[in-house]
């Protein structure tokens, strides 16, 4: 017994832990994204694989180098940058030149995350910051879509993918417009079943709604995704588009079309739900979701762009601390007392 004194560890209670950890959450998110990524490779072939791989590699390398140059311990172990890279790659057009993918990856990690102080401090979803940068810098390349299921997709790399850095890409085949563009410019409504199963063209891994939904449900079941955010988005989109669809069927897409087209599924389940950039309170999450849903409908219906999920989420990220501030729960025992609070 005498040797026990020197080994006793003294720490503040609680002495047990639930076992939840940042690494575990991030690993599960990667797991939930794998089926969708797999489908992307199946639909778009090695070109998609190259885009996803380059996206992850550029993000991971940027984070590693930035940590090294700023004399901080490496944060690769928490897997968060892998998610950033994967999500970022998933939102890009499959035929995007790889050098552009790299540039966007550096921006995503550097300007989206690292500049704010790293994991936990970023105001915006880093993956979307990278994509938004590319959208502004290379608008043509970001809206040139490859056709899905081309017969030689497993042995031929798209010509645009291997474009030399800082040169303009050349596209061999450009797909007919994405379902959203077809709706906006040609009043052509895609088949909902095609949208669900991912038979249409679009960004690398946003096309198969069923797999994205399955991944989301898996995370919800593990309490690693706040269901109120997608619920709020879906509710707002269905309600708003339902009303406008009744007013003018040819101009305004129907609710189901709105839900399953473009990046809405991927955005609602995996982008908007980024823990760091979304509110913490239950009611706050719902309001945040509704806000995104309304913005998506507004941008899709009345702006010059065909898709608005990215900007809707980035905008909602910016106001998420303020939403939290408005709906702070009243602590036990307090009736009506005004709290002043200023987030972050």
């Amino acid at each position: 017994m005498t040797n026990n004194n020197k080994t006793l560890r003294v720490q503040s209670s609680p002495h047990i832990h639930s076992g939840a950890s940042v690494e575990k959450i991030m690993r599960n998110v990667v797991l939930a994204l794998l089926p969708t990524s797999g489908f992307a490779v199946y639909a778009f072939g090695i070109t998609a694989l190259l885009v996803l791989f380059t996206a992850i590699l550029s993000c991971v390398l940027s984070e590693h180098l930035l940590c090294k140059f700023s004399n901080k311990p490496s944060t690769l172990g928490d897997y968060s940058v892998v998610i950033t890279g994967l999500l970022y790659g998933m939102t890009l057009p499959p035929g995007l030149p790889l050098w552009m993918v790299c540039v966007g990856g550096v921006v995503a990690v550097g300007l989206g995350k690292f500049i704010f102080g790293g994991l936990g401090y970023n105001v915006f979803n880093p993956a979307l910051v990278g994509r938004a940068f590319l959208q502004a810098a290379f608008p043509v390349s970001m809206t040139s879509w490859m056709p899905a299921f081309s017969p030689d997709r497993f042995h031929v790399i798209a010509s645009s993918t291997l474009t030399l850095p800082f040169t303009t890409p050349h596209y061999d085949i450009i797909a007919s417009a994405t379902p959203l563009a077809a709706m906006k410019f040609e009043q052509h409504v895609s088949d909902t079943a095609d949208l669900l199963l991912g038979l249409s063209s679009g960004s690398t891994a946003e096309t198969c709604s069923v797999l994205i939904l399955l991944g989301g449900i898996y995370l919800m079941a593990r309490n690693m995704l706040n269901w109120r955010i997608p619920a709020g988005i879906f509710a707002a989109v269905i309600l708003l588009s339902g009303v406008f669809n009744v007013i003018d069927e040819s101009r305004y897409g129907a609710p189901l079309f709105m839900l399953f087209s473009g990046g809405l599924m991927l955005g609602a389940l995996f982008m908007a739900t980024d823990m760091v950039a979304s509110p913490m309170t239950s009611l706050g999450c719902f309001i945040y979701g509704v806000f995104i849903g309304i913005l998506v409908v507004i941008i899709r219906y009345w702006s010059g762009m065909t898709e608005g999920v990215m900007y809707a989420i980035l905008f909602a990220n910016a106001i998420s601390p303020h939403i939290d501030r408005l709906v702070q729960p009243l602590p036990y025992g307090f009736r009506k007392r005004k709290t002043r609070w200023n987030p972050r």
Partner: protein, 456 residues
């Protein structure tokens, strides 16, 4: 157990679900623990003024004899845990450091018969007599709060109590003390409730038991004497169901306003072991000289529930039961709120409901601390709806005043649910304790300066 179907199982919102680890000890009957060769009895085992020692070195004392008297109303006496000789009065080890106390050497071969005082009979005693008897018996909250029970029961002017809550929730993992007391001291509990009802004038008593102890709930329900307004309420297993304020809210739907006590909304909450002690001691005029504790944890060989004399050093208890070589940490009370032990020479005192000895592998909290990722788990866990994440960020910025004024830091009772659930392993409760202390310090110096100014 047909009655359970008729009773809706109640619960509260938020909270966490730690693995309870109670199966190791909950079926083991309470066993008497042997006397240690030397007992350590701190004079302060309760909230309030320390007791005043009334023995001298070398004096022989009887088991149950008063060895330290209460210093005023906000204090309770201390009784000798064994017949023996006072070895000396000195600073003794405790979890708060070295504090004044008494060393007692039990006399080998003594019958260890308990010395009795003036009995307090339920039928003849007035409420004031009962309060007096509770103080004389040295009874304090045995759940761990160690607040003198007679003070809790003393009502101010224009105050009354209509409901008495007997807290048999025992939501801390590992501990099975209250569970065994409810099973084995059922009659004492019922008698204790009668004393408490008479002392407070409450009309009814509710015994709250968590649903993982159906046998205890059943035993209590069977033992309710006819004509006594006592009911047993089952509660869902969730931490921290047993905290006073949470229990009041769960059972009665009432919230205790900040800065006040449950008595202000006409409710008194008493721990079930304290109730049993009242029913066991008052009819004989005895004092608290032993208590039931759970000694458990991965490092303990013979885990169990023991009736242990006050002042038994942890080292003696662990040696007697056998302890694994890779013992790494010991906490007094449950692992969620109990303080860690730095020194095994400290004794069992009135507030210790048990202790848990962990091995190296089982001390689960990891050391790598990440930045807050705003997952909101702590906001979902906090039983009193604070925002632990925001409080934690402010604590790191040392903005204690805003923590207190804007985020109600003072309401936090340090249940540990937030730190338990935090995936970034941020020691939130530790931050809050520090913040409370620092705020107090700043605030005291503020008031001192302003007092000086006003004197000028």
């Amino acid at each position: 157990m047909r009655w359970i179907n008729h009773t809706a199982i109640k619960t509260f919102s938020r909270g966490v679900h730690p693995a309870d680890h109670k199966a190791d000890t909950c079926h083991l009957p309470i066993r008497q623990f042997p006397f240690a060769p030397e007992m350590v009895i701190p004079l302060s085992q309760h909230v309030g003024k320390p007791a005043i020692a009334v023995v001298r070195q070398g004096q022989e004392v009887l088991r149950g004899q008063v060895i330290a008297i209460a210093d005023g109303p906000m204090s309770v006496p201390i009784h000798a845990p064994a017949t023996g000789v006072i070895q000396g009065m000195d600073l003794v080890p405790s979890n708060k450091g070295m504090i004044p106390g008494i060393y007692l050497k039990p006399m080998p071969g003594s019958t260890q018969e308990v010395n009795e005082g003036t009995p307090c009979h339920l039928e003849t005693a007035t409420p004031d007599d009962i309060l007096q008897a509770i103080q004389s018996a040295g009874i304090v909250g045995l759940g761990g709060a160690v607040f003198p029970t007679h003070i809790k029961l003393t009502l101010g002017d224009n105050k009354y109590v209509d409901t008495l809550i007997i807290n048999g929730v025992e939501c801390e993992p590992y501990l099975t003390t209250d569970h065994r007391v409810m099973l084995e001291q059922t009659q004492d509990i019922m008698l204790g409730i009668r004393y408490l009802l008479k002392a407070t004038g409450a009309k009814r008593a509710i015994i709250a038991v968590e649903a993982n102890k159906p046998d205890a709930a059943h035993a209590l329900n069977q033992a309710i004497p006819p004509g006594l307004a006592v009911s047993v309420q089952l509660l869902k297993v969730k931490y921290p169901q047993g905290a006073d304020k949470i229990l009041v809210k769960t059972l009665l739907g009432l919230e205790v306003p900040p800065g006040s006590h449950s008595v202000d909304i006409h409710v008194v909450t008493i721990n079930v072991a304290t109730t049993a002690e009242i029913g066991r001691l008052l009819p004989h005029g005895r004092g608290v000289q032993e208590r039931v504790i759970t000694i458990t944890g991965p490092a303990v060989a013979k885990k169990g529930n023991y009736l242990i004399p006050m002042g038994t050093p942890l080292r003696f208890a662990l040696t007697t039961l056998g302890v694994s070589k890779d013992i790494n940490a010991v906490c007094l009370g449950g692992p969620m709120m109990g303080p860690a032990v730095a020194n095994l020479d400290i004794p069992i005192t009135k507030g210790v409901a048990g202790f848990v000895a962990f091995t190296k592998t089982k001390t689960e909290r990891k050391q790598r601390i990440f930045a807050c990722i705003h997952c909101g788990y702590c906001v979902e866990a906090c039983p009193i709806a604070l925002n632990p994440s925001q409080l934690g960020l402010l604590a790191m910025k040392k903005d204690y005043a805003r923590m207190v004024h804007d985020f109600h830091l003072r309401e936090c009772f340090e249940c540990g649910a937030c730190a338990y659930i935090c995936p970034s392993h941020i020691p939130l409760v530790q931050y809050f304790r520090t913040a409370k202390a620092m705020y107090k310090k700043e605030h005291v110096s503020d008031s001192l300066t302003s007092a000086t100014v006003s004197i000028k």
